[in-house]
Symmetry: C2
Subunit: 383 residues, 2 copies
């Protein structure tokens, strides 16, 4: 039995209903016992109606999450919201649960109406499939241009946590989106769960970048059905952090066209905010990403990216930079290093760029991936 | 006689001194009459010492600007600043002008020391070449991965303005940089010139993006030698705006790997700042840039990019979007349009994306280019 299904009372499924030309495109996560839950959602101000719909349920107990891939249902106005409600209503009816206990998620192309004539009968089949549905079915139903499935499972003894994720790639193949769904048998109230989840997301999913584009449909949802009873909050938080860290890593590793995962470590910042601003400025630099793709020790691009955020404090004369543990910039000036050895070290699949700012004690780890020709190819294509 | 040389008392030159393997790499713009001047410089906090050096001369009169390509002289610490001073001193000596009247600019790879043993004798030859130097020589000496030379000339009758520019491409081939040098025979004081230039730069060079990377060496310099005497400020400003607009356009058109120029028009914003934030968020979206490269009417990516700036105010329900004058989003919802006709329209070399926010009366035009496989190729390569 796999991850999500090891949580008592959880059933999952995934089917092809016809939103995508092929492959599964409709998934369900169902908890027999109504669960507490929390969600963290995209900060894009253009959102899919499912985001608003789910947020309104923040005080409810949740029985099911229904997710489709292939269509983001964004830029669809009132009809888009009506479709979300319809999906929730049909799901509730077929599962025999409360309408107010259903969450909805979409991922895919923006600006198209959902093909409800395919989704409606799909939901009926999907609910019927829960008897034999596997985590693989469920993961496949939320995938778009993902090349790999992404799941993590952790048994803490006193409780279990399991999660799946998709993205961040461009969807079908048109939009960057990440979705993650996590279930646990631990018992926490909605607001406590929200606090714990938010902290974990801030340190994981909020510290990754594939291409600097914020999706309209992002969400991370956790359901806690409480079958394991009350558990230690700190230990649970650590466990959830592990789950989120691993899922975030898997998303970056599977970034569109990505051949390398790049770990950016900023240390010695005055504030946490500065550390994050500088780390993300490096993570989003096309010049850094193409240099790492080419396995070039082009520290100048990293140094330059350190200075581009207008608010974050730096002193160029204090900056030290290491590429794969080779010091390349010492106090703002090129260090003596063996270029050939560094080039060799950059052939690894995992690259570390470490920056010491020398201004304080705050630090930040941020993950990104390299930028390849494949990325441009995937996103230039239109279907 | 070409642009810069039509300004009375201006001489220019460009030679190969050996910083780059081939092609001219050292240029000079010389004004026989010490000129008032103004400059606008990069906002990156990591800068080349030439930036600090030039800023210190803001109250001086200027006789010469010496520029090299192939090496940005950034990340070079004290030695870098010593080299700038040395270059200015040798130039001053050879031209027989004041040390304090020389400006220095570099463009090229970051983190390498300048090959002074090549530059020193080069300056001597360069000064000697002023007798026969052409604007082409001068433009070639500041080029890196630029595929075309970029110059504009305007005769206003009462005065002339001529300018050249380089970038924004990646330099040699490692760093994005733009440099622009403008000369005029109009007469303005340094501080008045600064005001005029700053306004023009804000509306032109500060509204273009190739890859969202801020260079460490950016500068726009104007020299006004005053031989035409006092002129009408408003008319001169209009002329300078034209010069800057054309140079900025040429830079975007020649962006690395660029096949299309994309004009982003944001209208109906609450504030100018909001308009710029939204325009630049669209201009820097890899998804928008790859979609335009693929000639795909992927309005969803544009809509999504409208919402990503955390501070700029939007109301998704009010947004209208046009691609090449075809309405594709009406009040946040996909409009009815003929996809084939829009695809056809996107085959043009110049694309216009127009966004109406419906919140106010501020607007902004921003230029960017598409993102191609060629861009990734150029910047993945290391030399």
């Amino acid at each position: 039995m796999e991850g999500l299904l090891t949580i008592p009372g959880i059933k999952v499924g995934g089917i092809h209903c016809g939103i995508k030309r092929k492959g599964k495109d409709l998934s369900l996560i169902y908890s027999e016992r109504p669960s507490n839950w929390a969600g963290v959602f995209t900060r894009n101000k253009v959102t899919s109606p499912c985001i608003t719909f789910n947020k309104r349920r923040k005080n409810n107990k949740i029985s099911a999450i229904i997710i489709n891939s292939g269509n983001a249902n964004t830029g669809t106005g009132k009809r888009g919201m009506d479709d979300v409600k319809k999906i929730a209503r049909i799901t509730a009816k077929n599962l025999n649960v409360l309408y107010s206990s259903v969450l909805v998620a979409h991922t895919g192309k923006i600006g198209e109406f959902l093909p409800m004539e395919k989704i409606e009968p799909g939901i009926k089949r999907l609910v019927a499939s829960l008897h034999y549905g596997t985590q693989d079915d469920c993961m496949e139903g939320i995938m778009t241009t993902d090349r790999t499935k992404k799941d993590v499972f952790l048994d803490l003894g006193f409780c279990k946590i399991a999660g799946i994720a998709k993205g961040a790639g461009m969807i079908y193949p048109n939009m960057a989106t990440m979705l993650s769904f996590i279930v646990t048998d631990a018992c926490f109230g909605n607001s406590e769960l929200k606090e714990i989840l938010k902290n974990c997301v801030d340190e994981t999913f909020n510290r990754i970048s594939i291409d600097g584009c914020t999706s309209t449909n992002d969400m991370v949802i956790i359901m806690a059905n409480g079958t394991a009873g009350k558990v230690d909050r700190d230990k649970f938080s650590d466990g959830l952090l592990f789950i989120c860290t691993e899922l975030a890593r898997k998303i970056v590793r599977n970034g569109e066209g990505a051949t390398k995962i790049i770990r950016i470590v900023v240390e010695g910042a005055r504030t946490k905010k500065d550390a994050k601003a500088i780390a993300s400025s490096i993570a989003n630099s096309l010049l850094v990403k193409t240099a790492m793709h080419g396995e070039n020790p082009n520290f100048g691009r990293v140094l330059s990216a350190c200075g581009t955020d207008l608010l974050a404090k730096i002193d160029p004369k204090k900056i030290k930079i290491w590429l794969q543990n080779h010091l390349v910039i010492y106090c703002g000036v090129k260090a003596e290093f063996d270029r050939e050895r560094v080039k060799e070290a950059l052939k690894e699949k995992e690259i570390e760029i470490r920056i010491e700012l020398g201004l304080g004690s705050e630090s930040m780890v941020f993950l990104t991936c390299d930028l390849s020709i494949e990325y441009v190819k995937i996103n230039t294509k239109y279907s």
